[in-house]
Amino acid sequence: MTGTALHQPQAVEHRQARQGVAASEWMLERRWPVALAGAVTLLALWQLYGSTVGLPEYILTPVEIARSAAELTASGRLVELASASLRRLVFGFTIGTATGVLLGLLSGVSRKLGDLLDGPVSLTYPIPKITFLPIIAIWLGFSDPARIIVIAAACFFPAYLNAHAATRSVDQSLVWVAMNAGAGKLRTLMQVVLPAALPRTVAGIRQALALAFIFMFATEAIGSGTGTDAGLGGEMFAARTTGEYEVLWAALATVALLGGTVDATFRWLVGKLMIGQELEAGRG
């Protein structure tokens, strides 16, 4: 070991490091306003076209949609519809994703479990998960549990496959670094393998989240009642038949808003939790 202080790293290295930080600041400051400007421009063009040229009666302008959504929110109907939908989404997503991530990580670490699960997963993965709904409905009817099971099944696969691949592809030399330091198996797993597998696992969770919204809508479209328990998806299909286009569009806007908000929150959280790896991927 040595006690001598060495020369400071060269100016070049400092500059490179500072550029990295500056780039991430730039993105933080400028990126989301640009994204917002894109969305606002699109809405403005839509509005402009609607109020000058005119649109068919079944396509509403953004202002009309906002008015309808405000009315439906005030009456409480939209809130009830959204909460019925979100309840299914949250349960389905949580059950499917948690199972997928857990089994994926375990099967990535244990070759035996990986081989064991490989068969069933390969067989069921290509099946469109929505086809489970009529089968499950034989037992459970077109009920919340039936819908939740289908949403969970849809969420399971991206969560499982990504978590599995993430643990399998952890850099061997990171594990060697841990072994070199004398870390035991459990510590290496918890403090090296899992954090290293996190970015790809999280990417899988994000895919599952998007699927949860799609399947929330799809499961509600089939066999829903007419009350607020129909959820946003059921209500949209009902509104189509009755010609209540303002309800249809308000429900659609709510799904878009909810989905966008959840995804943005998720990404923000990921950026906070995995700052080192986000920087590495150039997304800091």
């Binding site: 670094v177 070199n180 330091a181």
Partner: protein, 286 residues
């Protein structure tokens, strides 16, 4: 032994040591075979050499000659197929903190700050968090990274990351430093600076170093002794003492002896490489 004697260079001292003076590391008839596509690849064949305590040993060889595999076996990360490996007279069984490994890539944990990366081995060793952080700060000062404790690896340049990796490895308090082309991915200027700093650290440390490289000048500049390896099968084709004075620095690189060593080693490698220089023996990893 496989040492060739070439005037004005002399063969390695290690094998001539009297038996009473036990070498720190003894590699005897080491062999490593992989089977790939039903074919057996001899990554290493009959590799033997001794390393006395405190020596800076460079291992020079083309890619695919098995030099990384050799280092991984010494580190305890891979197992030899045949032969023996004695560390202070005891056979090596698995990795240990007595042999600190540095890779071509810095292999820092990207989710930890530089400080936490360097502190981690201390925490594994049972030190308190504050104490580990203090030790990390000292080590980072040693490698010239003070002020970057809170940075993440991704925020640092390649050279700075290798400095941090060196600090982390030194924190293991190893007897032997195993370095697998640690400067191979750096640009030419940074690489030269890192070589000079490594020399300076090593000259104050009393550490034994085994340094893998495919860069002739790097091997000569750093090493007390250079082992040259040939590929297919990976084996030692020359064992040469480097008789350049210490301490070494910028002036060493202008020493006419450097050029002599360079052409000598280049000739050896050229003869060895032959016409099919680029077919991989299948063991070098980056």
């Amino acid at each position: 032994m496989s040492g060739n004697i070439h005037a004005p260079l002399t063969s390695g001292t290690a094998t001539m040591d009297p038996p009473a003076d036990q070498p720190q590391l003894r590699v005897a008839s080491l062999g490593k075979t992989f089977s790939r596509n039903r074919k057996t690849v001899h990554a290493l064949q009959d590799v033997s050499f001794d390393v006395p305590r405190g020596q800076f040993l460079s291992i020079l060889g083309p890619s695919g000659c098995g030099k990384s595999t050799l280092l991984h076996i010494i580190g305890g990360f891979e197992q030899a197929s045949s032969g023996s490996l004695l560390l202070d007279g005891r056979p090596v069984a698995g990795p240990g903190r007595d042999r600190g490994m540095m890779f071509q890539q810095a292999t820092l944990f990207p989710w930890k700050t530089i400080e936490s990366n360097v502190a981690w081995p201390f925490i594994v060793d049972g030190h308190k968090r504050g104490e580990a952080r203090e030790r990390a700060h000292e080590l980072l000062a040693t490698v010239g990274l003070s002020g970057f404790e809170r940075s993440y690896p991704a925020e640092l340049s390649g050279g700075m990351r290798q400095r941090a990796a060196l600090a982390r490895t030194l924190g293991l308090s190893p007897d032997i430093l195993l370095m697998d082309e640690p400067f191979g991915a750096l640009d030419a200027q940074t690489r030269e600076l890192m070589q000079e700093e490594l020399t300076r650290i090593w000259e104050h440390s009393g550490l034994t170093v085994i340094f893998i490289t495919h860069d002739i000048d790097e091997a000569v500049f750093l090493g007390d002794r250079v082992l040259v390896m040939g590929a297919r099968p990976g084996r030692i084709i020359a064992d040469v003492d480097v008789e350049l004075g210490r301490p070494r620095g910028t002036t060493t690189k202008k020493d006419p002896q450097m050029a002599e060593y360079h052409s000598h080693f280049w000739e050896l490698i050229r003869q060895e490489a032959g016409p099919q220089a680029d077919r991989n023996g299948g063991s070098d990893r980056s």
